[in-house]
Amino acid sequence: MTEPVPLLELEQVAVAYPNGRTALEGVDLAIHPGERVVLLGTNGCGKSTLLRILDGLIPPTRGAFRFAGRRVDQHTLQDRGWQRDFRQRVVLMFQHPESMLFNPTVRDEIGFGLRHLPESERAARILHWADVLRLQDFLDAPPFELSGGEKQRLCLACLLAVEPEVLLLDEPTANLDPRTVGWLLEWLRERSITSVVATHQMALVPQLGERIVILSNDHGIVFDSRSAGGPPDHDLLVANGLAYG
């Protein structure tokens, strides 16, 4: 029986910044539809870079990134039709919500990814997600006037309103209040959406996903629960700066 085609696949991916600093080295990762991956690693190990590659924002310096079996390279990234389809299917929540907000009002911000929809459906979805993420009182306010937590809720609303196939989240719970964290965990659990979540909050790991991937300080994958057949042990977490002991 042949192995199904992964939705997201990295093959021997390496990324080096212009200043020569290595962000990722020799990363192999295949993520299948419906998988919920939690990405762990210390600061600066390359989690955000990995998410950006998966979102087609940074091309790997070496190796290949494939989405649904198709290689994503500079040529693909210039194809507007492909971009449109990809951007509807894969979304990324940035670590700092300020980066993501560029529309005059909260209503415009949520509706930004829905411009292809008929006006009535668009308006209904905006109201739905504003209601779900408790933003209904700010619909006509400028996004940059919101608090940190409200901005993060708004970013979530913007991305979830698109109804993507793949959700890439970079430290999504950093600014959220416990109520919204609880809601997000439940929402992720109830859906079969493919997700890759980078986090430092070890207590949330079991609820964020079933598959755990650890990036080492050497910028490569040092542990993958899929191939290891179980969760990482305490010594491995300590060795990679993810636990104290």
């Binding site: 924002l57 971009q83 449109r84 700092h96 300020e98 005059p104 400028p142 940059f144």
Partner: protein, 185 residues
């Protein structure tokens, strides 16, 4: 002055271009007087708002022109009046635009430009907060008043950090816009 915001903004843009094409100080003086006349109530406040940010620049430029005139023996009155009046008129126009033009309304028909405007506003707010945080942190961490040299080094470090943050922010915003499909409409 035009009544609708898009018209006011168009007037502002046209006026800025026109002012840069005028090379006669007497004409610029007339424009300045006309602008003050048309700017309505709150004229002194507007003049203060326009003059304050450019005062030191004008003093520095004027000193430079005077020194050059003294060294070369050339008459400098024309250049002196031209540069001072032009900068003042441009500053007054901009102060008027900031006071009387609602840019959201002015750019309502240009959603892409409006998006850039939102980004600029967001970044201004971010840097304002950053500057405020730096000031507070400095105050909080100062046990003994810093020397001029330390102040200079501190300011240079803050300037570099702000520049670095600006470049980083620009990269992040561009990536986020691309990620959300804003760059391939």
């Amino acid at each position: 002055m035009p009544s609708s915001h898009p018209l006011r903004f168009a007037f502002y843009l046209a006026a800025v271009i026109t002012v840069t094409l005028i090379h006669d100080p007497r004409m610029l003086l007339l424009v300045l007087a006309g602008l003050l006349l048309l700017s309505g109530t709150g004229r002194p406040a507007l003049l203060l708002r326009a003059g304050r940010p450019v005062l030191w620049i004008l003093l520095l430029l004027s000193s430079g022109i005077l020194v050059m005139g003294w060294l070369t023996g050339q008459p400098v009155l024309h250049a002196l009046l031209l540069i001072n009046l032009r900068v003042l008129v441009l500053a007054l126009l901009t102060a008027w635009m900031l006071r009387d033009v609602d840019l959201d309304l002015a750019l309502a028909r240009l959603p892409r430009v409006r998006r850039w405007l939102v980004i600029v506003r967001g970044q201004i707010q971010l840097f304002r907060r950053l500057a405020q945080d730096y000031r507070c942190a400095q105050k909080s961490r100062t046990v003994v008043a810093p020397t001029m040299h330390q102040r200079y080094l501190g300011s240079a470090a803050i300037g570099l950090a702000a520049l670095d943050k600006g470049v980083h922010n620009a990269e992040m915003v561009t990536q986020a816009m691309r990620s959300r499909g804003a760059l391939h409409d």
